[in-house]
Point group: C4
């Protein structure tokens, strides 16, 4: 890929797996550790979903990126390595999956660096970051750049990569969007209360194929985010297989790891540079 | 269009785009300005969605109306002009997107007039108004009439235009309805918590085509409201294109700007005149 | 219809329209009367929906039952009479649409009797009752029987009519169910917050046709409940028309007013008699 | 079935019916006993749904398992026996349907043992258990083993049976999952507020057939959980019939009672043994 970030492809697809395991539930309340059923629901992700997904990727011959919270990598020492060994990327997904917007700047920094320490200890190379709950603060890109990572994947201001002028240097942003996330479609738990109706995988598959086709028209990044504890379930992983097969059939969709897309984006000088700027919001007009 | 407000058409379609950008989120809490991901999610509207929509409208050759909060026009000085230059209408959508029902009468007036001042300063002619969150008060039509605007588009007592006897004179009402709004179908944010399941664009397209066909039977105003931060996304804008093509294929659907429909409605003496009247509600029967 | 309550029909269909207008919103909070948009959303029911529904029924040649809160009949003096004149039934739907379960026994009685007084004053004959929000108390059937009404339609213990041994005598119960109500499918308001996703009418039509077909197998009462402020909208009323046409095409579905079904049910001695009995619930096992 | 827990079958299907009746509502609040409509909605389950389901199972010739709260069995003395007489299994589903995670250890034990006492008194043999609301605690498997039961069915760490090393000995776990539960799809009540949109049975049928087909690929346990008060309704029970017919048509799906699957799983030494272990969660990283 030289010149344009997408090369000859009509669209670039990054399959990303957020291996959250127990963390989103524990971040909502430490006491949920007492809920054995809920813990088992989350454990399904790394224990059943991830191996099944790795086999699927092998079978299809496409690379992927796994965003793993540091706590999860620590609790299951062989997990990150088992992903890297299969040719995929492991990336930074916070330590505890607490959303940065709910932490002080110092807490966010500590959580961020703790995760890096875990991966360093395990010898896992890290190039990029995704904020827990996709809830980055204005400090987040600076932390990413300061620690030498090359990209973030938590923002939503475009559906094509963009360059972000962070305090510590330029990084690539690989934007996400809720409509390419399996959480809204599949997640359901009574406590903590998550989700409402569970959508049929065939409906989700249709929606994602339509989005991919439209993204081919607009030359976008199809940055899919799925969770092994959700999309590792049988008919959902079959839907994921069909989606990848659909994309491969199109013939003009390029599958890549996030780190490779980030390098191509940083090398593409035609991409816009955005300068993060928190809106000034007067209490006169927005009193609450 | 003389005589009947809809002329020869079976139905009249007004494509309206509420360019809310960050305002609905900031109106829910000023502190959300700290949430970089959420801000980027909203910024997508004016930055990616609006240009894409303007190109689509050019391509299809249909006019539209963009309801813009004054704060948004102020933050992005060229935005409103870029819409008007393409032959579309810009209309009043409050200053801050706080719902009028949550303000005192004086606050609503101040917010209303501040938006008008912004548009006056930018040389943008304004003929009509839509209340933030479609939450008009009984004062709202009076403000519209008092400031010389010709129509409001926030009420739901009919699916055809009607004339409204406001304190400051008669205005046209171009009614809206939640089923012709993309918010209920597509909006999802974790904080502030908005939406639940994200509907597939193909489902939304089918629903809107059915409504248009039924409105052709009843000679209605197909007053569609979509948000650039939602419907600017690839498969959703493709669905919007298909909807307009579907309507054009019918051959008897007239596309118009709201201001033109309002003038036709005000000139149609066969349309009913409604006199706003707040229901009298006794605490004896409705104690809460 | 002699002998069996359903005669020769495989299923009996009662089309019921709950003409709630502003009441469910005002029952949730008197202050919502200040919300002009919300009031207009509710006013659509009696002002646009009801006339359109009456024309549809004429066109299809089927009878129906309209459950009207006393407050609504009082606010719009000609409304109930306009329904009766077209050959349909008007029935009791509380005075204020406050759920009985949220009132004291004395308040429920006062609200119940106030509605009867309104209908008596307007010369509207009343044979049956439906509790607001389908939230009957154990006193409700007794009120129905004590005031000489013949049936209630607020309970869900069966999908066929049953006889209810109330304190004041036997009445018929024409059971309802949430899956045959348009509220869950279509209702959406931001304040008071009602609903989430708005379902496509074609989906609702499919669901109701399937239920009707299944009810033909089990010889049930297809007791459909729709709201003019919801199902009076164009594509929804077209879906309602298709549903009735589907039923008529089956050739073995009998359409009737609730009062006629109630008389047939009371005359059918093979129907079970249920004796209302509040479950005894020990605080030892159910502490909250 | 010897050797492999699934024998020659591609997938094993356990049809399970949670006969909750009034208990989930009363567990949410004892005061709901005053809500006659809600009580009737729940009573539909044992009174209409269960007999209809028993006839359906006879007709299809497949065995099933009914999880019954002790309180329900006590309130309706002949209910459990009527199920056993038809060749099906009755299993333990708590006494009061309060979730174990909301009780102290002593309360959970008392509730657990009280249910066993009810079934002992009624002469109903019990082999397995399912936690109310699928909210097991880390104590739950120990209670199951200690009382000589052979399996639990409340956890979600796999979609194939597994062996669980409980304090009192090894038991089988027959895992459940929310996507094979009719609650998320069909349940709707205004008070206590449960559910949002009601899904069409044809959509649910498609989703479950897809899951079954995918489970045939992965050799899973298709452990379906439906509720008589929900799935006993006409078009839903017709959808259930179609699902079973679909499975029978596949020719390689084995239907069994939970107790038989549990015995086969315990005899299959190739199945993994899991050791329940509550995650250690530091307040440093998970402060809330």
């Amino acid at each position: 890929m030289t010149g344009s970030w997408h090369g000859e492809a009509a669209a670039v697809a990054t399959l990303t797996f957020d291996v959250d395991a127990e963390t989103p539930v524990l971040a909502a309340g430490r006491g949920y550790a007492d809920h054995m059923s809920t813990m088992s629901h989350q454990a399904y992700g790394p224990e059943v979903g991830v191996p099944r997904i790795l086999d699927l990727l092998d079978d299809l011959g496409v690379p992927a990126t796994f965003f793993v919270p540091g706590w999860v990598a620590q609790q299951r020492p062989g997990l990150a390595a088992s992903i890297v060994e299969r040719g995929h990327e492991v990336a930074h997904h916070s330590y505890s999956h607490r959303p940065p917007t709910g932490m002080t700047a110092a807490e966010e920094r500590a959580d961020f660096e703790r995760a890096l320490a875990v991966f360093a200890e395990q010898g896992i190379p890290i190039s990029g970051h995704r904020a827990a709950m996709w809830e980055a603060t204005w400090q987040t890109p600076d932390l990413v750049a300061e620690h030498g990572l090359r990209y973030d994947s938590s923002l939503m201001a475009d559906d094509r990569p963009y360059r972000l002028a962070a305090a510590g240097g330029e990084i690539a942003e690989l934007p996400v969007h809720w409509s390419l996330d399996d959480w809204e479609q599949y997640a359901f738990l009574p406590a903590p209360q998550i989700g409402s109706v569970i959508t049929a995988p065939s409906t989700v598959l249709g929606m994602w194929c339509d989005e991919l086709d439209a993204m081919r028209q607009y030359r976008c990044l199809f940055n899919l985010c799925v969770h092994p504890f959700l999309s590792g379930r049988p008919s959902r992983i079959v839907a994921l297989r069909k989606l990848v097969e659909f994309a491969l059939d199109r013939g003009d969709v390029h599958f890549a790891r996030c780190r490779d897309v980030a390098e191509a984006a940083l090398a593409d000088r035609s991409l816009p540079v955005r300068h993060p700027a928190r809106p000034e919001v007067s209490p006169e007009f927005f009193p609450h």
